[in-house]
């Protein structure tokens, strides 16, 4: 269901500590989400219908 990224674009250093890497990736996503400003009225896409 999930395709791995293809190693074409520069993006990841050598992995020494996979747990730390996983957490840092989640933190990076979290930081990007925080930067994305949305109206207070926007509701989540539950009961997802395209």
């Amino acid at each position: 269901m999930l395709a791995a990224p293809v190693p074409l674009l520069a993006q990841a250093p050598a992995v020494e500590d996979l747990a730390a890497l996983a957490k840092s990736q989640m933190q990076a996503n979290s930081d990007r989400l925080k930067q994305f400003k949305i109206e207070i009225s926007v509701e989540p896409a539950f009961a997802f219908k395209p």
């Binding site: 269901m1 999930l2 395709a3 791995a4 990224p5 293809v6 190693p7 074409l8 674009l9 520069a10 993006q11 990841a12 250093p13 992995v15 996979l18 747990a19 890497l21 996983a22 957490k23 990736q25 989640m26 990076a28 996503n29 979290s30 990007r32 989400l33 925080k34 994305f36 949305i38 926007v42 509701e43 989540p44 896409a45 539950f46 997802f48 219908k49 395209p50």
Partner: protein, 475 residues
Amino acid sequence: MTDDVFFAPITDLNARLRKKEFTCQELTRAYLDRIERLGPRYNALALLLKEDAIDKAKDVDKELKRERYRGMLQGIPYGAKDLLSAKGQPTGWGARPYAGQVFDHDATVIKKLAGTGAVLTSKLAMVELAGGGGYRFPAASVSGPGLNPWSRSHWSGGSSSGSAAAVAAGLVPFALGSETSGSILTPAAFCGVTGLRPTYGLVSRYGAMALSWTLDKIGVLGRSAEDCGYVLQTIAGSDAKDPGSAGKSFYYAPQFARPLSEMTVAYAPVDFDAAVDPTAKAAFQTALEVVRSLGMKLVEAKIPDFPYDAVIGPVIAGESASIFEELIRSGKVDQLDDKKQIAGLKAYLDLPATDYLKAMRIRSLIREAFGEFFAQYDAIVTVSRSGPASRVSQALDAPGSRPAQADRGFAGIIPAGNLAGLPALSVPCGFAGELPGGLPVGLQFVARAFNENLILAIGKAFQERTDWHTKRPKI
């Protein structure tokens, strides 16, 4: 039975069955022998269903003898990704902790295909747990790394690795796969087969391993857009057992397709130039010219601006952590083959609820944005992946040599299309890469929700002008 049979389209096989050129039993036995012999060569086979398949083929032959016809898939062998349950048979989800797991029911898609007379010959290998934790190596599977029939030193793509490889090597005429974010389109492109990711909710997931309730889709890997259309017609439809079911059916109707000359298709020049692997540029640009020659109006455009990766990450993390919580907390997760995936799943347990909800709120805006986008355009054409498959020994997160582009074009269309629940079709469009002769690359068409007939019509027209989908690897 000649090799041509193993690479024949469904329409051809069905016609030959009806003409009694061969029986369903003969056809099924030939495919069973082939996949038993060659499946392990590509790590494509999870389970052979020999006895059940032969029993089913005998039933189909009785029907054909009575001239009781059930449609295009009657008597056609196929394989299913090993995350779809087949009653009484092991369904291991590609993962060591679930080896030997048996369900007492068929997945809805398998039941539907059985009802139309298709013959399930095999369960096909996949990346463990469909790669939900984020994997580092193609070897992230209990079956070993998916090997590409065009070059066994290269990856077949994931997570529907075995499904794509089996179709490419002529081990099945079509296969079922699944996609949460790229797992049909990627292996389809890498293996040189046609891949159809349906609209979210069009095909029931009942009996399928869940990775992300709001993203998972079951789809098709086949020889052509037309074959994918016939399979989708059979597996689509409302299902009360799937809470995500959209309650819609699908009828493959190429005869009623709008003229391509009336269509406006969005594209970004950078997608076919600086953003792709240099060895693939010529193939992609030639393919774009073929698309242009079909008569559609091509208009330059860009993907709506959202942080797609940052949105889809928390959605998958939150949902898969909940689904696999028992696996993770029990420590059985450590039995998985890929250490990055183990670490990823463990980390997901600490995802803040606010991140998941923020992602799902942005997702609402993404859906709206694509609604507005498709008010202007009928479809998007872009590359399926920016280059051919990587070497099977190469880490999937290894740094690459090309810088990220300021002009993103439609980069991000895979997470974007999945977040918005849009249908997509990948068709083979040439060869590229370092090997003599190259490895396959694919072109992708995306449309608004439930417009599968539109992208299938474009794909069919493209395949009438090209022969990439008929190319065969040397087995």
